[in-house]
Amino acid sequence: MTTTSGARILVVDDEPQIIKLLKVTLKAHQFEVLEAATGEAGIYQASMNHPDLIVLDLGLPDIPGIEVLRRIRDWSRIPIIVLTAKDREADKIEALDGGADDYVTKPFGMGELVARIRVALRHSGNAQQEPVLRFGRLVVDLAQRLVELDGSRVKLTPTEYELLKILASNAGKVITQRHLLQQVWGGHHHESDSHYLRIYIGHLRKKLEEDPTRPKFIETEPGIGYRFLLQDQGE
């Protein structure tokens, strides 16, 4: 986690209260905070001050947050976490598919936001994938295509393995259904295929989870997709 401290975070939000809250708490977590109250100012700051991560509110007064996201994505891979209202699933999906790394729903707990920021910074930091992923009792060896639970080998079908590989190598990050469908089934999937995805996730849970209704590894983000839980944040 130490690698993420001192990172420079740009907060784009038009609410002074939210800016103040984020400034105080993020500084307390040893982040450097830049602020912008409009979309234009946000894009300008992003290009001039080279932040390490952007927290972007989707409801901005001047230009839609999703547009800000798109314009920054035109030239930068910098991690972006979007802030949205609770029941705007369509906005969340649009932002995620439009290049956002993760989202946090307002009202949010600071712990949640800081965890998301750390995950996003870490994933942007080491683009080089480690060959063996360890999550407590679960080990995914990408080099040998091996999955072990409590030291014993878990047998997965190729599709199940592909799903697990994508989720686990993005551990802590939300992955949209569409992204998973694209990655696993390639170009020839369509939206209505999402129940195949659900069924495979169900199978995967059955093989990995002690109690599939209380998952410890693969969490559902309703209406959005799935998130592979980092074991240190498991409750």
Binding site: K86, D87, E89, A90, P107, R145, K155, L156, T157, P158, T159, E160, Y161, S194, H195, Y196, R198, I199, I201, G202, R205, P212, T213, R214, P215, E219, T220, P222, G223, E235
Partner: protein, 524 residues
Amino acid sequence: MRKKGKTVAATAESKRITFKPYVWITIGIAGLTSLFHVLGFIFDDVNIALIYLFPILFSAVYWGIAPSFYAASAGVLAFDYFFVPPFLSFTVQDLRYVLSFAVYLAVAALTATLAARLRQQVKLSKQREANTAALYSLSRQITAIGDIQVLLDNIISRVYETVQTYVAIYLPDDKTELRRAAWAPAELGIDESESAMAIAMLSFRHGEMAGKGTRTLKDFSGLFVPLRTEERTFGVMVIRTGNEDEALSAEELNLLEAFGGLAASAIARIKLSEEAKLAHLTAESERIRTALLDSVSHELRTPLATIIGSASALMEGDEVFSSADRVELLGTVRDGALRMNRLVTNLLGMVRLESGMLALRRDWCDAEDILGVVLSQVKGFQQDRRIVVKLPDPAPYFPGDEVLLEQVLVNVVSNAIKYSPDGSEIVIAVRQTGPWVRISVADEGIGIAEDDRDRVFDKFYRGADVNGTTGTGLGLAICKGIVEAHGGTIAAGPRAGKGTVVTIALPAGDPGLPEDWERKEEEA
């Protein structure tokens, strides 16, 4: 014109039969005379004279006065000629039989009049019976009707059946102009000229019949019957009558007026029930508004009070609190805010439901998946209640909006937690029965009184026994709205022993997976 045609035919028929009685009378008297002649002298003159009264009585009863006078004359002449000596001749002395003739005539006249009156009465009472039957059947028919247009169509077709002429009903619109609301037969035969409409308006305004056969404008070729109750006139029925000569009988006028009255009271009934419904709605929305204000102001103020109180205490007297105190105060701030967040979410959900802005994003839902999300959502406040999940294997899939259904289940499970003691058990069971996926949530809590089992799903309604437990009465109403939007049902019932079972039934649908969709993959 129908009416006229029918009447003309009737007249021709009556003309054809007019001379028939005279033939019969002639034959009858001739027969009687020859009978007397053969049997002749068994009878005295007096008896013979009396027997000649029979054809007179008979013709008076059946054919009326003229034929009976003819019978009287023929009878006297036959009697005089054949049976008064000198036989087979009229003599001067026979003038004394003028008296008999007068008696015959008097009998004929009296009997004919009486019979005619009787016949008239029979005819009248038959007509009345028919009218009463028509009115009765119409009134029975229309009491069940709740829609004005259907009612008018019914009345108009019945009136048309009865009078066999063009009819139409006009009702006033918002600007109190008369508009044609129903008519029969299909092609319109009603005069809608300016003068006709002016008379219709007159009849409507004064609530009196006008036109043909009435006191007002009796020469106009149309009849205007107001649809009137004691208090109000609702419209006008217009009947096209025949031309010059043909006036409607008093009976027909009465019948039409009765139809008008019946229509008016039926319209009045429908209008009253509509008004009552509206009044009920207004009262209901008033009740809801009051409940909303009460509940929202209470539900908002309580957490606000704790938040403001705790926050200001922390700011003002930071040094007097131990760190444990501080954590506790901050906890109340967070809990208060979370509570407000729930309220706002529910209020927004309700608004979205009511404004029809709730759009379902239907997709295939996995019961196991949804329950997983629900369990993680309620984990924060279930304390030591055990939540047991009973899922069939494989877990059912069904079409639905997983975000909204998750909200429904979180609400239902939260209620189960809220109204049951710590340490008790909550069982969430999923099963598929036929075309339905049923999800039931059973608790060991305070239960819901039988009378309240439907009403707990009403907006702002809270059971009588909730004493002390906070809530807005919105949660279950939102659940109901969402479940019904999915074409499902939600119901509360008693749990065997103690507590409540809330059962949600959702249409299972058909995932339509091809047989071999799951390519048999090798497990590596």
